[in-house]
């Protein structure tokens, strides 16, 4: 027996960049977060070759879950060709040899920043959401150690008070994206800065969602078929963005979350935010074949 028979030949980089101990920790923390839905699990969070705040939490989860057959889709603001999505997709493919796709239905793993695709995800798909700030209590309690205690006590009074104050001051809840939601009736989580439009997609979803904040070192999850309920008062219903009647000027699709594009004449035009949905709609219109799957929203209404 010699040292060389006990070890592998030296390699500049492990498969999927992260070393074995980092992946092991991540898997354990993912399992824990699945076991306690919506509860933030602290993890070491390694540095990766990307700046903190640029999807390093999501990236660590993706790198841990992929194998050379995992088909990966990466989106940012709903678009596959957004510069950072392109950068992350290229990195995962480079270090893990994964095939990539832009088609939501074809993907095994979808890493996303700020959006959930419009097509319904299946049980065999995993959605990884990048999270800048994992703490829904941050606006009412910036101190992380105190907030942790508040979660343990299910002490969400100040959270409710904040929502109430917004209604009193502005006539409605002013929360834009990252709408705080109660998971499995126990933990309040931030769904990451997805628009309110996307939050109902998490409720009783067939797919597993893993939310990971690399900089803040917290991971949490929404397992399949788990309740995700936005915090609302019984007499003030939850309201998604009023995009149900908008039509995409490029693809002609109607009833999905849109990007508003300011025009020279002072008006706005709209483009569908889920870029691949737009592409598929154009393909269908040009009779290049129908490749669109079922969507969560039908005629602009959550079904």
């Amino acid at each position: 027996m010699s040292l060389s028979t006990l070890t592998k030949p030296w390699e500049a980089m492990s498969y999927g960049f992260l070393d074995g101990s980092a992946k092991r920790e991540l898997r354990r923390k993912i399992l824990k977060s699945v076991a306690v839905p919506g509860c933030q699990m602290p993890y070491a969070s390694r540095e990766v070759p990307m700046a903190r705040g640029w999807g390093t939490g999501g990236l660590q989860v993706s790198l841990t879950l992929v194998n050379p057959r995992t088909r990966v889709k990466v989106i940012d603001q709903g678009a596959d060709d957004s510069v950072n999505a392109a950068s992350i997709r290229r990195f995962i493919a480079r270090v893990a040899g994964t095939p990539t796709t832009m088609d939501t239905l074809e993907a095994d793993l979808i890493q996303s920043r700020h959006r959930i695709p419009e097509e319904i995800l299946r049980e065999d798909q995993v959605l990884v959401l990048q999270v800048p700030n994992p703490e829904p209590l941050r606006p009412v309690q910036p101190n992380m150690s105190i907030a942790r205690q508040m979660h343990a006590d299910a002490d969400y009074g100040r959270m409710w008070l904040q929502l109430y104050e917004q209604i009193v001051r502005s006539g409605r809840v002013m929360q834009g994206a990252s709408y705080p939601s109660l998971v499995h009736g126990r933990h309040v989580m931030t769904p990451s800065p997805i628009p309110r439009w996307d939050v109902p997609k998490l409720h009783m979803a067939k797919h597993l969602t893993i939310l990971s904040a690399g900089r803040e070192k917290r991971i949490f999850a929404v397992p399949p078929y788990t309740r995700v309920e936005p915090l609302v008062f019984s007499d003030v219903p939850y309201k998604v963005e009023e995009h149900g009647a908008l039509t995409c000027t490029r693809s002609g699709t109607t009833g999905f979350f849109m990007n508003e594009i300011p025009q020279d004449d002072g008006t706005s035009s709209f483009e569908v935010s889920d870029s691949e949905w737009g592409v598929k709609t154009i393909r269908a219109r040009d009779r290049d074949g129908e490749s669109r799957g079922e969507t969560w929203y039908k005629d602009g209404e959550m079904s």
């Binding site: 980089m13 070393d19 101990s21 980092a22 993890y43 070491a44 969070s45 390694r46 540095e47 990766v48 070759p49 700046a51 903190r52 705040g53 640029w54 390093t56 603001q77 709903g78 678009a79 596959d80 060709d81 957004s82 510069v83 950072n84 999505a85 392109a86 950068s87 832009m102 700020h114 800048p132 910036p142 101190n143 992380m144 150690s145 502005s170 006539g171 409605r172 809840v173 002013m174 929360q175 834009g176 800065p193 997805i194 628009p195 309110r196 439009w197 900089r215 309201k239 963005e241 009023e242 995009h243 490029r250 693809s251 979350f257 935010s273 737009g278 592409v279 154009i282 040009d286 290049d288």
Partner: protein, 352 residues
């Protein structure tokens, strides 16, 4: 196809990196060597913040990033994190440090003497503009002292403890892999002592200075006296699998002890880091001194300063605001417009 999800993004990011690199041109081992030789204090700072002691790698990171310090530190951290742990070295005791410089502001003279060592403290800060006119800068040679000061010296706080002026921290018997490691586990609060010291050791120099300075100016409860500031080399003692101990080499370290009166005893703050970085050590030790009992949310409270002096995280988050945020922005616009419309609908008719 009318709507092409072009790979425009991919092309653009590739060209943008090429533009950055074109400015600097290529580099080779000679450049790395030159950086290492000519900028030792910058190398020290980068090694400290990366918590990776390797002058060659630090010089390489600086050459590769054109001196963009946050990028250089991130390069080293991302490299470091994937490396296996072969050994945990023996603890380093203060009296075993090969000391180059050691001063105390607390006493006129101290056992072992004030050793000024290498410093620019008393240099007249006059820019050597004649170098640009073609003159070369040749430093005056050092004249060795007739009685060189001892290389190994006790700490000032040891003397104070003997004289019942301060209570030294209790000895921590934790050994080897049982020592909590900030890079392998999350930082939680109240923070483990090892995590606090590790976090300060790899903190961003400017960030520690900003918060430490705030404490010094009066936003902290304690006013630091530099009990001891030391620049030294530490022997890295590791064990061979057959049990023999040997030195794996020396690393440059700096450390600071600052004290303040707390009742009848002195309170003590401590920090140490890889490389010689006095500003960082004094600032970090000042934060450590101020931290016990600090109000939650104040700049001298450990959760506040440990989170906010983490350079890789803070710089990364700062530059992430360059990323598109139009989905969240759209979501906010929707709430704003709706609130405005509601208000307009409710507004009373203007009086005649």
């Amino acid at each position: 196809m009318a709507y092409v999800a072009t790979r425009g993004g991919e092309r653009a990011i590739e060209q943008s990196e090429r533009l950055f690199r074109e400015e600097m041109g290529g580099f080779d081992r000679a450049r790395v060597k030159e950086v290492k030789k000519s900028l030792p204090y910058l190398i020290d700072r980068v090694m400290g913040e990366a918590s990776l002691y390797d002058e060659d790698l630090a010089a390489l990171a600086l050459a590769q990033t054109g001196g963009e310090l946050y990028e250089a530190v991130l390069l080293l951290r991302a490299w470091r994190t994937t490396q296996p742990r072969l050994q945990v070295a023996e603890p380093v005791e203060q009296e075993t440090l090969f000391t180059h410089r050691r001063i105390s502001a607390a006493f006129k003279d101290i056992p072992g003497g004030q050793v000024l060592g290498p410093t620019l403290d008393y240099a007249h800060r006059i820019l050597a503009t004649d170098v640009l006119q073609g003159a070369s800068y040749a430093p005056e040679p050092v004249e060795p002292a007739t009685n060189p000061s001892p290389a190994y010296q006790p700490s000032v706080s040891a003397w104070q403890a003997e004289n019942d002026l301060l209570d030294p921290p209790a000895e921590d018997p934790t050994k080897g892999n049982d020592i909590p490691d900030l890079t392998r586990e999350p930082l939680l609060f109240p923070s483990k002592r090892a995590h606090t010291l590790q976090s300060l050791a790899r903190a961003e120099t400017g960030g520690v200075l900003a918060l430490g300075y705030a404490a010094m100016r009066g936003y902290g409860q304690a006013h630091p006296t530099v009990n001891e500031l030391r620049l030294a080399e530490a022997e890295i003692a590791v064990s061979h699998p057959d049990g023999r101990q040997f030195s794996a080499g020396r690393v440059k370290v700096s450390q600071a002890e600052v004290v303040d009166k707390k009742g009848e005893k002195l309170g003590i703050g401590y920090a140490a880091t890889f490389g010689w970085n006095e500003v960082k050590c004094i600032s970090a030790a000042t934060l450590d001194l101020n931290s016990p009992g600090a109000e939650k949310g104040s700049a001298t409270e450990e959760e506040f300063f440990l989170y906010h002096t983490e350079g890789v995280e803070s710089s990364g988050f700062c530059i992430h605001f360059k990323l598109p945020h139009y989905v969240t922005f759209q979501s906010s616009l929707d709430a704003m417009r709706d609130a405005k419309a509601k208000k307009a609908a409710k507004a009373p008719e203007p009086a005649e």
